[in-house]
């Protein structure tokens, strides 16, 4: 009776060893069918209307390997994305924490956060162009404004969602304010913060592309506009696929970080 319920313990602690390949099979078949249909359709239709996957791959090879313009576009989009998103994460978590923790800060900042969160941030791009020009700074500003609000709002929710009983527990053990923050409030709100980081990431990627399409000087968004205007449909798909890949990679990186930092969260 000392080790009660060992069966429950092992089943929760260890993932099932036997892996099923069925999901991968379904995904594979689906991909083959969709890409195959697309290829057949693409070859029969006007190439300006729809490029086939093979034509897109050929265009991608040409762009990725040979075009300095494309390589630069990826680097520019990525650096502005990472900079703006990084700033938004830092500021968003700090502001969200302060707003969730101190009523005064919340009352003072809430009107702006609510108003700006409700405003489509792309509507601000013309104003931001006047302030920041049309290059790097503009993209960083747009990414920042796109990402920061979901991060703030989720962090506030996380800080406020802290279990009162656990706060009382920290108090019963005479934890200081700083210790309570570190050992209770921060870990408790981490899953919420990560939810905000994921939403903020998606918003930031939309932001950088829209900024590049509007200012249309450089970056993947500008390339999309250029190939669209030139009716180069196969090339047009390449920056779109690149953006999709970047999104997937960054989302995956955030999820990985979340798994490492909140290992308990999957258990509940």
């Amino acid at each position: 009776m000392v080790h009660d319920a060992p069966a429950m313990v092992t089943s929760a602690a260890l993932p099932p060893v036997r892996r099923s390949w069925t999901p991968w099979l379904i995904r594979g078949v689906s991909l083959v069918v969709v890409l195959g249909t697309w290829e057949i359709l693409g070859r029969r239709l006007d190439p300006v209307f729809l490029a086939s996957p093979s034509a897109i791959v050929a265009a991608a090879y040409g762009l990725v390997v040979r075009s300095r313009e494309f390589q630069n576009a990826i680097i520019e989009s990525m650096t502005s994305m990472v900079t703006g998103y990084g700033l938004a994460s830092g500021v968003g978590i700090m502001v969200g924490f302060s707003m969730g923790r101190w009523r005064t800060v919340e009352l003072a900042l809430d009107p702006y956060v609510t108003a700006l969160y409700a405003t489509p941030r792309v509507a601000l791009i013309p104003l931001l162009i006047l302030w920041f020009g049309i290059a790097f700074e503009l993209r960083v500003a747009v990414v920042f404004l796109s990402s920061v609000f979901p991060i703030i709002i989720n962090t506030i929710a996380g800080v406020k969602h802290v279990d009162e009983d656990l706060l009382e527990t920290a108090r019963a053990f005479a934890a200081t304010q700083a210790q309570t923050l570190r050992t209770v409030i921060l870990p408790s709100s981490l899953p919420f913060i990560f939810a905000g980081l994921r939403v903020g990431l998606a918003a930031g990627i939309i932001g950088v592309i829209v900024a590049e399409m509007t200012a249309a000087v450089s970056g993947l968004g500008a390339l999309i506009m250029k190939f669209g205007n030139l009716f180069q449909t196969a090339q047009l798909f390449v920056p779109i696929v690149a953006i999709a890949l970047i999104s997937v990679l960054m989302t995956w990186a955030i999820k990985l970080l979340e798994r490492v930092l909140t290992p308990w969260h999957r258990l509940e």
Binding site: M1, V2, H3, D4, A5, M8, V9, A12, A13, D165, L166, E168, T169, R171, A172, F173, A174, A175, T176, Q179, T183, V184, P187, S188, L190, T262, P263, W264, H265, L267, E268
Partner: protein, 256 residues
Amino acid sequence: MLEVSGIRKTFVQGRVATEVIRGISLTVADGEFVSLIGPSGCGKTTLLKIVAGLLPPTAGQVALDGKPSLAPSRQKAFVFQHFNLFPWRTVLDNAAYALELDGVDTRTRAERARGLLQGVGLAGFEQYYPAQISGGMRQRVGLVRALLLNPRVLLMDEPFGALDALTREVLQGELLRLLAATPRVSTLFVTHSIDEAIYLSDRILVFSMRPASVVREFAVPLRKPRYEYNWRRDPTVVGLREEIWNLLREAAQHGT
């Protein structure tokens, strides 16, 4: 020695004032185990929280070894009914929580936590999270967390109330064993179970309905260690059980 004197508590919410505790004084000597038993909602938990420093009393004083002690302190450890383990901490880190707050270095606190965890059969579970272990195991961690810092006072709020009957009995035995190893600690234990109070306590205080006051005090004259024999059949227990039961029933009827 824990001294609680003249505690009153009235909760005020808007214009409604609810008197919960009407003058309670009690002492718990070093190494003594005192249970508080009474009808639900009578204010036992409120009293425990006042002693812990989690609630301010309306009047009265709490003193530990002669010094006023109305604020939370790691000298007064709390064991909660619903365990209150931190879900993001492993068994080991939950157990060592108070040591960590005290600034004890990682290695020392792991060593000390491992020692006590092993004593309650949790060796090998140090790296598990609370969600991965049973209720009984969680409360063992709660016990270790409370006792690891060698507190002067142990405050327990129906710690076994959320467990099944069998696990409950096993944990009562383990609590007695742990306490036998920490002879100076004064324990104040809130419970609904008469048998639990008899089995564990040196003295039992029976509370009235709200506003709470102590109706009567019983000494439990059973020989120790009690986990070594069948105390339930002891004739003094049968009489004591009956007497407490009658008092509680009376208190409950007066309330309604």
